[in-house]
Symmetry: C2
Subunit: 720 residues, 2 copies
């Protein structure tokens, strides 16, 4: 994310009024040699042309590509806001040419465009579902292979002794898988690291993140996540689905691929940031929908993260993409599972059915749930706090690709070792009943017909472990197993997030929460005899999972709906909502959410949904950047190149000014550097109508204000 | 809805620049006797002050109150747009006083306000849930009383002969209940008629509908709907819940009641249209949530109908209100049902659990579902077409309250008669098995141990009939029963909607659809032996219900989610979505949705989510109203009264103009009659910066453009 996108701006207004201005440039310092031109402070009257931007990203980034992923060793300060990020051109630039083109379009043409949008959204949903299906099947096959191999090995050596060979095999297999996953991320496409949710949040927020929606990123993401999960890391495959859906959406809707250098010459009307961003939001929703079997949750996720305006048709299209995505995944998985047409198994993660009869909750349990929400919030804040310092450490010292690969391999090996030691020393043997659905039950030192309970949590993909914690009958795990598992997995997951591998944090969070939630249930049941009647450990595992996930990511509305849809049960809506709300309030008191933290560490000028409560008295004059670099209507190429290559300006859109002949006539137009998203600062168009350009307000000038502990605080702008 | 709301406008800007202007008014025709002042076309420079509005509704409506509900006999033309509706003042008027007040508020004060908002939303949800609970229990008790009485009577006369006495009793009981329900609506509060959804749609759209959120309206609505349902009309109690929630929200959030003439002196900060409208949207959502047990559907309903911007905190609060509402209803109903704490029974209408094992659908059924969607769309359009002409007939000839009461009583009697005749001549006898959950099975002329199947559809509240059609086992109804029921209920429901009673159209639509949907299932099952394996009549009843409801009301996103939540099953999401989409596309081809139709018949200036596709080339000059009535900064009261009482102007906000002394200095400000909602016409602030006010653009000037069969069409503005 180190390239600087520069833009060329020109006036696209009619020629009639500007002719005089072209002949007599009144700009201060209009010599060609001077790269930075600032407006004179005279009182002459100008016409400020509308801005049009051309993205020169491709040309300029090529030379910088070779150094990406290797940031300089700079002390990372979250009080900085980087100047290198540009906004998406979200508004259509309504100049004469644009309006004339729109005017030439018939009513039928608009209809056809609308139908194309629907077709594209259907395609996005279909492809996202297919990718989810591919990831799921690959992970299941490869992980099955790995676990069967290790299990056979363990069985062989349990009696004969020499289990250390099993440990070595486990660690080696893990490290090998993770090495492959880390190499492609670190060396080929570093932006594919992590879940991709912070990057998609930024993109939907209107920030241009280079290479985030490229085909290459998608391939690395998909292959990478398969190897991360198979490699036994404390990660999930759900987060990356959101990023994958977004990339697919960008690719399909634009009808071309930068990675393949191929232009399919279709959907050319949609090649503008407005349309692209809309489709990307549909793709992200389709990703959520495929990941959790939650089409409504997907729509709400996209709205929560990306919407400034409520657009009914867009929302409906997003919903369509989400539905198609879940449906496609379901349909192909049902064929894979030899139950063709059985569509009742939605999502990559399936929480299983929570039957309301078996898992009713009572009014007096609500305070308990809220208390668990508070615990989740606290633990989540602690998780984020640790990860924050770890990330700063990584930025400073682990920024070389080879170091990143080694760290990832180390984590994989440690994962195996810790799991092995815990399983080895565990004495929690449980009878192998017909209720158990363990695929790889490890007997180890347990009696015949029994299995090691600790192994069910570690010796499986995290998704399956979550299901086991939710649904395994009372008594499957003892308190010590759950406690030890919670502590170790907490630190492992915290260490894992931020590695140079493609991986999500949803499932590890759910797993940690499910473990301590189940522990809460067991402890509750042991207090009184009546409590053992209602304190079902599976129910408390669910609440704990919600609390922990909420405490880490701090999503609220969409997460409630995602959890509701994943459990397939509306009655859990209220407790889950209360838990997530409590987790958010408690967590926010200590530390920001994990995604926001990483966005901040990236110094991205992210604009939040609402302006800080106490920012009413800020005037445009206080927030604007000045002085402003302006251009004449006719400029030498050299001047423009100089202006563009000057990195000391605070803005990268340049007003084109034209002198108007008369003094008594005032013409004006909007001079805005970039598209200031209307959602922030309650929709004011900032107009500087005067005889000169005195300032420009860009996204960065607005994003630097935020509410801290002591009221309104200001971040510094820096060329990091 | 016949009163005209007038507003006084004044300048609230600082005094320094306007002093000169006050001494030398330069307005053309500034004599005090002239009520309508229009700007001169001179070239003098003015400062146009910001508009502030004071609502004089209360004072002016009192004298007109006596004639409400009795509109003049005017030929109703849907090509007219009434000038009598005003916009809500949705934007805060950011004048000096407002900004100073905001500036004085500390960070803590903003926090407190935010907490108050949450408390209010919780209260709204709680009270809405209570009201839903009250309606439910009252209807169940009174309807139970009625049906038991009639059943006893029928049993008595079946053997002895003289069943006509039973018919008379039934018709009399129905008419009596409906008479009471109609009297309070027609004589006390006509705005409480119908479901209230069109009115709430308009309110959320930003149109001020007089008396729509008054306490009196709520009381009439709640009592009215109980009597309508008990009176055996083809109506539901769900639509009115949305209106009830909205009224509660307006009342609670404003901390005062106009009906009670009581001011509780709390929440005074929220006494502005911005805040009020936000709370009303929460109330409407809480209403949906209570009605259908669909908290997420409620949120989406409010967003779909009312949102221009996406506001995360507001959405979250709306969700909170919805959750509390479902929870409250559930909790109190569980106590009423003697199962305290069992919260698995959400909503007034409960579709019952659709177990995925029993009611799976296959890929090849999807085309069948889509075909049913098309049927639903066609039937819905026919329903709306009939109701449209009926409504025009009613506006012309049935506008006196006593006539309205008589019509309602007639419909109630006809309902009983038609039901009685159908039951009487029905030969569809079914064995009374343990599966049946009929509360009032009528044996009539069936053998012992059997009951009349036609009676299960008519001799019950519509909610219970819907559940029976969804869940009764195969063979409970024969095709003739379902066909006859569909046809008669279709016309009865169509006749009923628009009567002067408080009643909803959701349940009748679902019932009609469930009947013909079940019929489709039975016919399908009879075609081939394999089809009888999968063509479960209950499943097709559900699809038919969705298709019919979608075809009549044309809601899409929110309705899908409402249906999903009401069935408690995510897997039905895709077919329901496809069915609703098809129904909407087919229905829209013939006729608008029922609510939009009634809004149009009310000549309300309703602004749709998006500007018509081909409206790009419209300029402000073309749409604006001119000439503009302007006021001086200092005016005699008489002039203002004259201006306000002049009904020939197209606008009811008046720019206050001030001459500026100098010629070389240009000051300007925004002159907008009413708050033009940013959502429409993609967020342009219209500024007339010139030496004179040339025009004003109001909601009505924008609302009159719509896409007809032949492209962009224009409605006429009229003082209806």
């Amino acid at each position: 994310m180190a390239n600087i996108t520069k833009k060329v701006s020109w006036s696209s207004r009619g020629d009639e009024s500007g002719a005089a201005g072209e002949e007599t440039p009144l700009l201060n310092g209009s010599e060609q040699s001077r790269p930075l031109r600032q407006m004179s402070s005279g009182s002459t009257v100008f016409q400020i042309g509308r801005l049009s931007t051309v993205d020169l990203e491709e040309e300029i980034t090529t030379e910088e590509d070779s150094v990406r992923g290797r940031p300089k060793e700079i002390p990372h300060n979250e009080k900085l806001l980087s100047l290198k990020f540009e906004s998406l051109d979200y508004d259509n630039i309504e100049n004469q040419l644009f309006l004339e083109e729109e005017r030439r379009m018939s009513f039928m043409a608009f209809r056809c465009l609308e139908i194309s949008r629907w077709v594209i959204c259907g395609l996005i949903g279909f492809l996202t579902g297919l990718i989810a299906c591919f990831i799921d099947i690959m992970v299941e096959q490869l992980a099955g292979l790995k676990y069967r191999l290790i299990k056979e090995n363990i069985v062989k050596f349990t009696e004969a002794g020499g289990l250390s060979i099993s440990l070595l095999l486990w660690a080696a297999l893990n490290s090998f898988c993770v090495m492959f996953g880390a190499i492609i991320v670190a060396f080929i496409e570093p932006i594919a690291a992590g879940s991709g949710i912070p990057q998609i949040k930024c993109f939907l927020n209107g920030v241009k993140i280079p290479r985030v929606v490229r085909l290459k990123t998608l391939v690395v993401k998909v292959v990478g996540v398969i190897f991360s999960v198979v490699g036994g890391l404390a990660v999930g495959k759900e987060g990356p689905m959101i990023h994958s859906g977004a990339v697919l959406a960008a690719g399909v809707s634009q009808g071309r691929s930068t990675s393949l250098k191929k232009d399919f010459k279709i959907f050319e009307y949609f090649r503008r940031d407005t349309e692209k961003r809309d489709f990307v939001s549909a793709g992200a929703a389709a990703g959520v929908s495929a990941a959790f079997g939650a089409p409504v949750g997907g729509v709400l996720f996209s709205l929560e993260e990306g919407a400034s305006f409520w657009n009914q048709m867009l929302t409906w299209r997003i919903f369509f993409a989400s539905m198609i995505s879940t449906f496609t995944l379901n349909f192909f998985l049902s064929i894979y599972d030899n139950k063709p047409g059985d569509l009742s198994n939605p999502g990559l993660i399936n929480f299983g059915r929570f039957e309301s009869e078996a898992m009713e909750y009572n009014l007096y349990e609500i305070p308990l749930f809220i208390a668990m929400g508070a615990i989740g919030g606290g633990l989540g804040a602690f998780f984020n706090f640790l990860n924050y310092w770890l990330t700063i450490f990584r930025i400073r010292y682990v920024h070389r690709p080879c170091l990143q690969v080694i760290e990832a391999m180390l984590v994989a090996a440690v994962n195996a070792t810790v799991a092995f030691i815990l399983i080895y020393f565990s004495t929690d043997c449980q009878p192998l009943g017909p209720d158990q659905s363990e695929e790889y039950p490890l007997q180890l030192f347990c009696a015949d017909g029994e299995f090691n309970a600790m192994a069910t949590t570690f010796f499986n993909t995290p998704e399956k472990s979550v299901r086991s914690l939710f649904h395994n009958p009372t008594g499957t795990y003892n308190s010590l197993t759950l406690g030890l598992f919670t502590v170790t997995y907490f630190f492992l997951a915290c260490w894992t997030y931020g590695l140079a591998v493609s991986a999500g944090v949803f499932i590890p969070s759910l797993l940690i929460g499910a473990a301590w939630g189940r522990l809460c249930g067991i402890l509750l049941a042991s207090t009184t005899s009546t409590a053992s009647m209602w304190a079902d450990p599976g129910k408390y595992a669910l609440i704990g999972a919600a609390a922990q996930l909420g405490g880490i990511v701090r999503m609220t509305l969409s997460l409630t709906v995602i959890m509701m849809e994943a459990t397939g049960n509306v009655t859990y809506g209220l407790p889950i909502m209360l838990v997530l709300m409590t987790a958010k309030i408690v967590g926010d008191y200590f530390q920001e959410g994990l995604y926001d933290l990483h966005i901040k560490l990236g110094s991205v000028p992210f604009l939040h949904g609402e302006a800080p409560a106490t920012s009413h008295w800020l005037t445009a004059r206080e927030v604007m950047s000045s002085p402003v670099t302006c251009l004449n209507r006719i400029e030498k190429v050299g001047t423009i190149v100089d202006t563009l290559s000057n990195t000391s300006t605070n803005h990268n859109g340049f007003p084109v000014v034209v002198q108007v002949s008369g003094d008594d006539e005032v013409l004006f137009d909007l001079a805005i550097d970039e598209n200031i998203r209307c959602m922030s600062f309650r929709c004011n168009v900032l107009i500087f109508i005067a005889t000169q350009v005195v300032g420009l307000v860009t996204r960065k000038d607005l994003a630097r204000y935020h509410v801290g502990k002591h009221g309104l605080e200001e971040l510094l702008l820096a060329q990091t």
